[in-house]
């Protein structure tokens, strides 16, 4: 048993490196808290740890699918790719957090430590094969997120958002645990594999209980992703948190939520077909409502961070629709969409942070005339926004195209038409922002300071994949498809 555990750690090295790194950063931070130059060292160390984790994950990509740690977690290529996305997103946010004025200087290292914690929790959720490890992972992500949301200790908006997030999160975690406990009572164990086995022999009454438990479980997971009935926290928390924290919330915890949903789809598609059909219908309705509410509510927002919260809800709606496809066909489209979504979100938050730094507020009024103040950044911002809206020839269009293809292939024509209509609505609010940035002129024409050469290079560097992947996406798409083929059979 012990030998098996120790040999499993060899596959779990990335997480171990992250835990060791987090502990090291914590120790260093508490020892040298007052030194200024030290912050740069902490961030560089964090970057090195993340790069190491990335290298280890990339080497795990061709490992076979297997259960680790006595069926608590599963290792498969699809999951490893998602973990790579999470690590890369965190690395992407590092530079933003380092140069942002939205986090107080003394808390900058705390941000990175907490972010590492959330990352480790995300990786646990991605590879969970047991309802309890799923719960632990979700709770790790959530609790550390509550602290992250209220990082600006002297700002009432930040404190309010932390409070709202924690209250809401506690409620949904309680509901999820309630459902899980009944599921345990139904099946007798918390492993996914046992669920699959038991579901083959469930009678009608037991199926009803199982479905109810899955709905309660959905309440907990949908909270993370801001799916329909559990989305109310999202705009307030996004608006109140410091901008790097918002950028982090829009990327890494969403990966956790999407991964959890996808694992449930994999679980249910390996179980009885009755459950999977029911899940498809249920999650499609949720996806449609999430997408519509997100897109419609974003239309009228003054604050850009709030608008991005609602728009990210709309995108999660698309991904939920992709996950709903039976037979696990949707998970490669999910991977592709999630990857493109992360890049686009990063770019837009970099520019939002800069405007916030300059004007002290993220109201869309301050984006007017961005093209006169800094042409390069305005153009990158517009490319990111058009990509989020789904305009060809950018990456966001390709991602949307793949999801539409999936829906049409499985003959969900009404859903496809609803996705199309939502895209038109989405274009409108992104267009307003682009119009403010490029067409309108503002009263003060000072050049937007603070974009150092390195930052400009960085932002252009992340915008370039949006154009490249919009035109030459064959290799990446087939690569993701191959990875998803090797997802775990529970």
């Amino acid at each position: 048993m012990l030998i098996q555990l120790l040999s499993n750690i060899s596959y779990y090295l990335p997480e171990c490196i992250l835990v060791v790194g987090m502990t090291l950063l914590l120790l260093l931070e508490s020892t040298y808290v007052s030194k200024e130059k030290f912050r740069l060292f902490v961030y560089l160390l964090a970057l090195i740890v993340l790069v190491l984790a990335f290298v280890l994950l990339a080497s795990n990509l061709d490992a076979p699918s297997l259960h680790l740690f006595g069926k608590a977690v599963v290792l498969d290529q699809w999951g490893t790719m998602l973990k790579i996305f999470a690590v890369l997103s965190t690395a992407g946010i590092l530079y933003l957090a380092y140069t942002s004025k939205d986090i107080y200087q003394e808390f900058k290292s705390e941000f990175i430590i907490l972010a590492f914690g959330v990352l480790i929790g995300t990786m646990l959720v991605i590879s969970s094969a047991n309802f309890l490890s799923l719960y632990i992972g979700i709770e790790t992500v959530s609790i550390l997120s509550y602290v992250l949301a209220s990082l600006k200790k002297h700002d009432i908006g930040s404190l309010e958002s932390g409070l709202k997030y924690s209250l809401f999160g506690a409620l949904s975690a309680g509901v999820m645990l309630f459902g899980l406990s009944h599921l345990y009572g139904l099946i007798g164990s918390l492993d996914y594999a046992d669920f699959v086995q038991k579901s083959a022999t469930m009678d009608a009454n037991q199926l009803i209980v199982a479905k109810t438990c899955i709905i309660l479980l959905f309440a907990g997971l949908g909270f993370k992703v801001a799916a329909f009935p559990m989305h109310m926290w999202s705009p307030d928390v996004y608006q109140g948190s410091p901008t790097p924290v918002t950028a982090f919330f829009a990327t890494v915890p969403k990966i956790a939520g999407v991964a959890a949903f996808a694992r449930i789809t994999m679980l249910l598609s390996d179980s009885s077909t009755d459950l999977m059909e029911w899940w498809t219908h249920f999650i499609q309705i949720i996806g449609i409502i999430t997408m519509s509410v997100g897109n419609l509510c974003a239309l009228n927002q003054e604050s850009v961070k709030r608008m991005l919260a609602y728009s990210s809800m709309g995108h999660m709606g698309f991904i939920i629709l992709a996950i709903s496809i039976p037979d696990k066909l949707g998970i490669s489209a999910t991977l592709f969409y999630l990857g493109m979504y992360l890049i686009m979100t990063l770019v837009s938050f970099y520019v939002v942070d800069q405007v916030n730094k300059e004007y002290g507020s993220d109201a869309s009024y301050f984006f007017k005339g961005l093209i006169k103040k800094h042409a390069f950044m305005a153009i990158s911002f517009s490319i990111a926004l058009f990509s989020l809206a789904g305009m060809p020839p950018l990456a966001g269009f390709v991602a949307k195209f793949n999801i539409l293809s999936l829906l049409v292939e499985n003959k969900f024509y009404t859903v496809a038409i609803l996705v199309a209509l939502n895209s038109v609505v989405a274009l409108f609010y992104y267009l307003i922002l682009v119009k403010k940035a490029i067409v309108d002129s503002s009263d003060d024409t000072a050049i937007l300071k603070g974009f150092t050469f390195l930052k400009q290079l960085y932002i252009c560097g992340i915008t370039l994949p949006l154009i490249l992947f919009g035109l030459f996406w064959d290799k990446i798409y087939s690569f993701f498809k191959v990875l998803s083929f090797f997802n775990f059979k529970m």
Partner: protein, 503 residues
């Protein structure tokens, strides 16, 4: 060769961005020479063309695998139906470059966006793969939005936003239709290729939604129809057009009216009708009725206008109604007439918008009768005689006077559609009558009558303006007297196209 035609303006567009703001002359010269080179390439293309064959020219056909996992290929081709459109595009952009010489604001961005627009329009007319076609179709929207929203008139943001949202709505529904076609035809090597879908293979497929059965062909025909109908524009979907045309700057209005509207009807000929021939013929009466309503409604709206640019915009709605009538009649004469009308309307409406731009440069308003009731343009014939003559040629071409090009195409449409829809054709001729009415009334009010104070000070057309109006004038007169060159270009391809439809 075709790839050069598509991507050369794109490269020039990026090149223009590299120049600094002060090098105005250089930017304008680069743009002008790029469009000149493209125009010469188009003429060379025409000389090497075998117009009698009618099928895609093998010499210029390009097909390269692009996205293998979804069988998307980079396929380009040209035949007798797309060649007039390509030629029109090249010619109109060349003229627009000369007409835009006096733009003051943000020159670099303006010419860069215009060149990008030209590139994507060429892509639409030349691509033969659905995905490629869709990408070029959508890429065209972004430069149009910025061109109207930055350099346009007073209400430009409303017009630009309405244009882009309305068109995007149509095209994304078209995308769902395209994807459905791919999956229904079995995801084989050819499934994204437009040409391989011809022939009505989808007539027997049905699908179930919420218990009721729909015919695949009918449902997706209407989805594709919606996408193209918003572009043309056909009657209920035309409300974006007056705003977009009026608020856009001159050169952009010319491109919008001269080429973009033709993209919609080209979509019908190339995609919607041949892929769903049974549905097209079943619903041809409905489409013809919508065409007639466009003609008559457009003409009546134009009669009521006091803003001359809006009047010409509504006349565009009316003329595209003729094209739809011709296309839905499925006879050789009517379809030939429709394609010819696409080219001729492009030239005559381009002339009208350019002329309005010339007078706008002098007067900074477009009123025939000002909102407070006083006279707007009046007695222009005394102040600007050369302008009067050229405006007369443009107006009569638009009207369809025999001797100018508009007459030939409209005659062919009427002759063809009378064979299929007698009553509707008679109604269409009422539209023709009102077309003459609003144009002649406009001409009388603007040019004759007393010379007002402000009109006395307008200078006549200078050399540059005459230079860019002259090619269109000569083309319109020449094609009116000898329409054979244009007719020969498209005859064989239209014949090939019509073979798919049951006589």
């Amino acid at each position: 060769m075709l790839s050069i035609i598509i991507f050369l303006p794109l490269l020039a567009s990026l090149l223009v961005l590299v120049f600094s703001k002060e090098q105005e002359k250089l930017i304008k010269q680069v743009s002008f020479f790029t469009t000149l080179i493209i125009f010469i390439l188009t003429i060379v293309l025409g000389f090497n063309f075998d117009f009698s064959s009618g099928s895609l020219q093998n010499e210029y056909y390009v097909s390269v695998p692009w996205i293998q996992s979804l069988h998307i290929n980079y396929t380009l081709g040209i035949d007798g139906i797309s060649y007039p459109m390509v030629f029109l595009n090249a010619l109109l952009f060349l003229i627009c470059m000369v007409s835009s010489w006096k733009v003051e604001k943000n020159i670099k961005a303006y010419f860069s966006l215009l060149l990008l627009l030209q590139s994507s329009i060429f892509g639409v007319f030349l691509s033969l793969d659905f995905f490629l076609f869709y990408i070029f179709w959508e890429v065209m929207l972004i430069p149009m939005f910025f061109l109207i929203a930055i350099w346009g008139g007073e209400n430009r943001e409303y017009a630009a936003t309405k244009f882009i949202l309305y068109t995007f709505f149509g095209s994304i529904l078209m995308l769902v239709g395209i994807i459905a076609l791919y999956f229904v035809s079995g995801q084989t090597q050819d499934s994204f290729s437009i040409v391989s879908m011809y022939g009505g293979k989808f007539s027997n497929i049905t699908f179930n939604v919420f218990g009721s059965t729909f015919s695949f062909e009918n449902f997706f025909f209407w989805m594709l129809f919606l996408g193209f109908a918003i572009k043309v524009p056909i009657f209920p979907f035309h409300t974006w057009l007056p705003h977009a045309h009026v608020q856009a700057p001159t050169a952009v209005s010319v491109i919008l009216a001269g080429v973009l509207l033709k993209m919609g009807t080209y979509g019908f000929i190339r995609i919607a009708f041949p892929i769903f021939p049974h549905a097209a013929q079943t619903y041809s009466y409905v489409i013809a009725v919508l065409g007639i309503i466009s003609i008559v409604h457009g003409a009546f709206c134009a009669l009521a206008q006091t803003d001359v640019k809006k009047l010409v915009a509504y006349s565009s709605v009316s003329h595209m109604g003729f094209v739809m009538l011709g296309l839905s009649s499925f006879t050789p004469a009517s379809v030939n007439g429709a394609v010819m009308q696409m080219f001729n309307h492009g030239t005559s409406t381009a002339m009208m918008f350019l002329l309005i731009g010339i007078i706008y440069d002098r007067s900074h308003h477009r009123w025939i009768v000002k909102p407070d009731g006083s006279r707007g343009f009046s007695g222009l014939a005394i102040a600007m005689p050369v302008y009067t003559i050229i405006f007369m040629i443009g107006m009569f071409a638009s009207l369809g006077l025999p001797g100018l090009s508009g007459f030939v195409s409209e005659l062919l449409i009427f002759m063809g559609s009378f064979q299929t829809f007698e009553g509707l054709t008679i109604l269409a001729s009422i539209g023709l009558f009102f077309g003459a009415a609003y144009l002649l009334w406009m001409y009388r009010r603007m040019f004759f009558g007393e010379v007002t104070e402000e009109v006395k000070h307008y200078s006549d057309m200078n050399f540059r303006e005459v230079a860019y109006m002259l090619p269109l004038c000569l083309l319109v007169i020449y094609l009116g007297i000898f329409p054979a060159p244009l007719a020969n270009v498209m005859k064989a391809s239209v014949g090939l196209y019509l073979e798919q439809f049951i006589k």
